[in-house]
Symmetry: D2
Subunit: 386 residues, 4 copies
């Protein structure tokens, strides 16, 4: 596979997400950071780009310059990552797609369901790839869960228990700290805080591993800290289109929990349990049998897990390698398109614009339900309400 | 403390609950099994009673004989445990209370809220003790959680996460096995299965540790196995009277989980986590600090934990010793009454008829909510609706 | 099974071991505390005995009075537990055996190998039972390990890893506290401290589960706290008579570990892992397979585990119930002898005087090895050196 | 920091260690793979090099060509990684050092103590860096352990418990499989198998975290599988030069354990515990206090931990990121030398040729001790015997 040219918008000096993307994109050598518009301050962005080894003529002052500059090149970037503030994702993603670029967009893909519908439509017309960074789906053992469900090991899935609960916003004295406050400001992030920010990852995982999409939901939102208008804790019950039920809890005031992302899947024939903080083990219990510990790197896993695994059994792999699996999938799919061949089907599990759209619909649905005393609401995007 | 006379109704040969009560009641030597009506079959019950060392004249054929026989004795039993089928609890408990006996009733205390109100009234009139066996509240570290909350370590409690989820009713092929089927038969157990059987323990723990009672709730019930008319999985959101919220999940189809009872409490100043399968550790995280592991038997716990602890640190204590703590509390309170002294205040945390009543109200409320699409319903007993 | 009469020497008010024995002996109702010489102070001992419900004529001032008193009774005690200071175990145990009593002796059975040989000889001549309280062998899952090895699940055992390491004697400032100092005083406890006190439990478990006895060993003793003349940390390598090797670590200065008793067994066909602080789970890995979690109370365990289990799966059982299993075994064996029947073979795994003798030989051997720079020494009692 | 040129010898297509080095070296963007002699088959090596993006004129047929080619360039590589078969490490490392290259050598650095002494001498004369890949010392929490010891949190270190025990060579039926057999062939790997291969990592960690070097040791080696002449399980007791003792167990027949690398450190004031399979948590217990869980990424760790950490708390980091920390240190030190500045002192903890030498001496010492019935032998290299 030839090395691909990669560009980045946002993720400038001091950002958290920038280095994570660069580590993950570069990790397997598939992508070369060739272009960037890294900062709202053009000078700072260019300086940082050069520091990262980007050629001066591809260190752009803003995304519009970058779109124009790259569009005119023969060696134009094969993929652009959009890691800018949430409210700009839609505009940038759409513009790049329309100009024939593949995009990996940070979540949320858009601010509204309507914009998300528009992105899906744009993708369809452009023939390009639009991935959304639900990066936890890149973990080897998450992919193995999905593979086990898909091949029937669990029989029909009945129930998914999903959690994403941390305690880092529990300090009332710190709630007005700007570092935290913006996360609960409707003007900046829309009508949902904790569910849209963290819960949605858990919901994506629930959909991803069960192979079932959300149909309707009932949500209970609370603000444990009074000064917040948006929720910092939520419980959401979801009915999936394959008949399973999701029990999803997300919290930012669960003191003592760190990342707190985990998923359990219960089916007719057995149950699975996985936790993101110890991602290399998966617990599997067949009905009537004993719990078995499946280790990442073991010889008896699925092709999906094998593809997403780099080091031998007993060595921990962590989050940057999970994110790198999303990039590795994109590299395969983009390369296959360039080389005129069929991509490895095992690489086809990265999250797409459809996932981004479904998330926006689920968030709107949860907000509506929560403000309606938990009334059940349709969780599907309008265009998918067959 | 003089040894007290104890009697048992139900818990005959082959029952599970009988030996658990006998181990727990006898463990500290406070209670001596002096009388019993152990079986619906009088002959079998008497034979078993004698095997257990009960004198022939106190091995009764049924509870009415026992009530009559014991009422006439100077050395009448100080406490009777009612461990008969659920539908008989009310009648027996009421009769013994009215005749001046102290009662420990297995849960559920009654089949209806109205009966439960009547028991509470009966207790009030009789001046006797009626305890209900929410035995998990006897664990040393559960009592320490309650003590920490009560003394203000957590500040105001915001959120309680409670679970009681196992997977032993997940096998559809086994669902019609009589051993399991009766648990989902409305005629035998009333309008709720898994929530009333297991979830209610988790709710009692949530109330017990937070020191707050249930005010309103919203419930989502499902039957993962189609042939069941009652729920085998439930999610319940509860608002407590002190402002905290409970997120309670209970399931019988969570394959891979054994007992699966646990509680987490999150307050303004810190969070606590405890799991019944590893009951000797409690995890405490102050806001902004590190998680600490509190060990049962450590020298720096509360009087409540110390009283409920028998062996030294690092040795596991388990369920029979937790149940024994309920009996130890009752022994103290009954003895104090006999001796005309004030009981040790640390012994006053056993579950009472009021708890039994609150549970019945919560079950009715959950059934109503679940059948009303999750509408919020009042969870309080009518007599406690201020 | 008729209730048996039980007596206790030592274990007076305020002792730790007394309540543990009383809880364990009484737990299943097999033993009734009928006689006792509970304290070195006769008056205190008698007063406490009456408090515990012992009849005044069987509340003795010392063990000699008790021996005489009980010898003359028709309802003499069926078993006496010796829980006095170590240096008196030999004399008391021997006297009771010679007068036809069954004995359960706290460890160490004696202070020297020669005394231990004498006890074994005395047992042989008396036809009575002498058990030694290596109580950890009473855990259900420890017994299951032994059963799995015995029935060949592991193939030939190659290696046993055993640990008993805590950190409660690590505070140099506290080393002269009388509560701790006596444990390192050769005059009171003999030539070994931590190995003889704790390590020997781990060695007994290694022998118990592997079904192999110690043949030779090499020991490294250190005193982490300078003021101690005896070891507070030891590493011992042992060769067993079936070809397996034991790696045994014991420590009293391993800060952060509580009880720290655990055993791992590795054989040709698989490996097992068990830890006393979470005693209800056993981890089993067949060669080439996945690790499985075996839960106490599961339906697919051995008769040995089933016999040693009282409550249902998912409920913790702890140390008092393990000790109770030793008493339950003794009840069965003593009752069978009284009733002239063959005892249940599954009850035959309690530790015996031979185990007590082997322990004394292993301690002497370890002391010799450690003082000889780790030279390999014969670990067998002289009478067992085939 | 300008990107550095990096070269690799060995690590060709299909090797396990090659990708691990490339991921780790490339992860932070410090090193660019500029040259390579990747395979014993020159054509295969060149083809693979080009696939990896190495320019054709720097894709060498063997290490001698590479040494010659790179020596003549202005943009010569700043660092070469030696990942060839063990027996060639010495010759290649020495040659590159003598020609002014910095080297990162896979372990073992050499086959004998004498060769290792020679490398140390060569490093001294060359003024270049020679690092040895004891990569586990790159974990953030391992570095934090070292920092806590160095700043006195534990007081004087008394005891280190170190383990590296897996079960992947336990299958006797598979012992002659070439994939495994070479690891126990003295002709290929020298006089020690499991201790030299795995145990030495645990010993390096013990030295690394305690800040104390090995002085003398006593070893017990066994071959659990009869057909092996070299050990597959070893117990080693070590006396360190600061007075601490190491208890080190290593095994390849511990079925059920995966990687099984862990270290516990016990000092006057507290104890630490860390396990490589869950590397993001460190357990700390002050004497007399509670165990605390330290999380990688927490705000209250040491500069050493902070430097070695890339993603936020609650996200797992794994082995490739630990190895990358070794590369990041080398990048800093090499860059500082090129730029004529003092390197960040926090970057100075990578393993050096002295560590490689100490390891060779410890292996020889262990072999001598084990073949001498565990006699204590000097563990220091001759040149370091004060």
């Amino acid at each position: 596979m030839a090395r691909l040219n990669w560009g980045m918008i946002g993720g400038g000096e001091g950002s958290q997400i920038g280095p994570a993307h660069r580590i993950s994109a570069g990790l397997d050598g598939h992508f070369h950071l060739a272009a960037g518009a890294l900062d709202v301050d053009p000078a700072r962005g260019k300086a940082y780009a050069e520091k990262l080894g980007i050629a001066p003529d591809r260190a752009y002052g803003n995304w519009r310059e970058m779109l124009e500059g790259e569009s005119g090149r023969d060696d134009r970037i094969d993929l652009v990552t959009v890691a800018t503030p949430n409210s700009t994702h839609y505009e940038i993603t759409k513009a790049f797609l329309e100009n024939g670029f593949n995009v990996l967009c940070e979540k949320p893909m858009t601010m509204t369901v309507e914009e998300a519908e528009d992105i899906v439509e744009t993708v369809r017309n452009s023939g390009k790839i639009c991935a959304v960074n639900y990066g936890y789906s890149g973990y080897a053992m998450v992919r193995h869960m999905r593979a086990m469900v898909a091949r029937g090991d669990l029989g029909k899935v009945r129930l998914v228990k999903a959690e994403f609960a941390h305690g880092f916003h529990a300090d009332a004295a710190d709630a007005d700290n700007p570092r935290i406050r913006w996360r609960y400001d409707p003007a900046q992030i829309g009508p949902s805080a904790q569910f849209a920010d963290c819960g949605i990852h858990a919901l994506h995982l629930a959909n991803f591993v069960s192979g079932q999409e959300s149909q309707s939901l009932s949500a209970d939102f609370i603000s444990a800290i009074d000064s917040r208008t948006l929720e910092d804790d939520a419980m959401v019950n979801v009915r999936l289109d394959g008949g399973a039920v999701v029990r999803l809890w997300t919290s930012a005031v669960a003191v003592g929990r760190m990342h707190g992302l985990g998923v359990q899947v219960f089916g007719e024939k057995g149950g699975l349990r996985w936790e993101q903080e110890h991602p290399n083990q998966l617990y599997w219990t067949p009905v009537g049998g004993r719990t078995e510990i499946l280790e990442r790197g073991a010889p008896d896993l699925s092709p999906e897990a094998d593809r997403a695994s780099r080091v031998t059994i007993g060595h921990a792999e962590g989050m940057p390698l999970a994110f790198a699996n999303i990039y590795a999938d994109l590299a395969e799919v983009i390369s296959a398109a360039k080389e005129g061949r069929t991509p490895d089907p095992v690489a086809m599990s990265y999250p797409t614009a459809e996932d981004g759209l479904r998330s926006m619909a689920a968030i709107r649905s949860a907000v509506d339900s929560a403000s309606g005393n938990g009334a059940w609401t349709d969780a599907r995007p309008p265009s998918m309400r067959g």
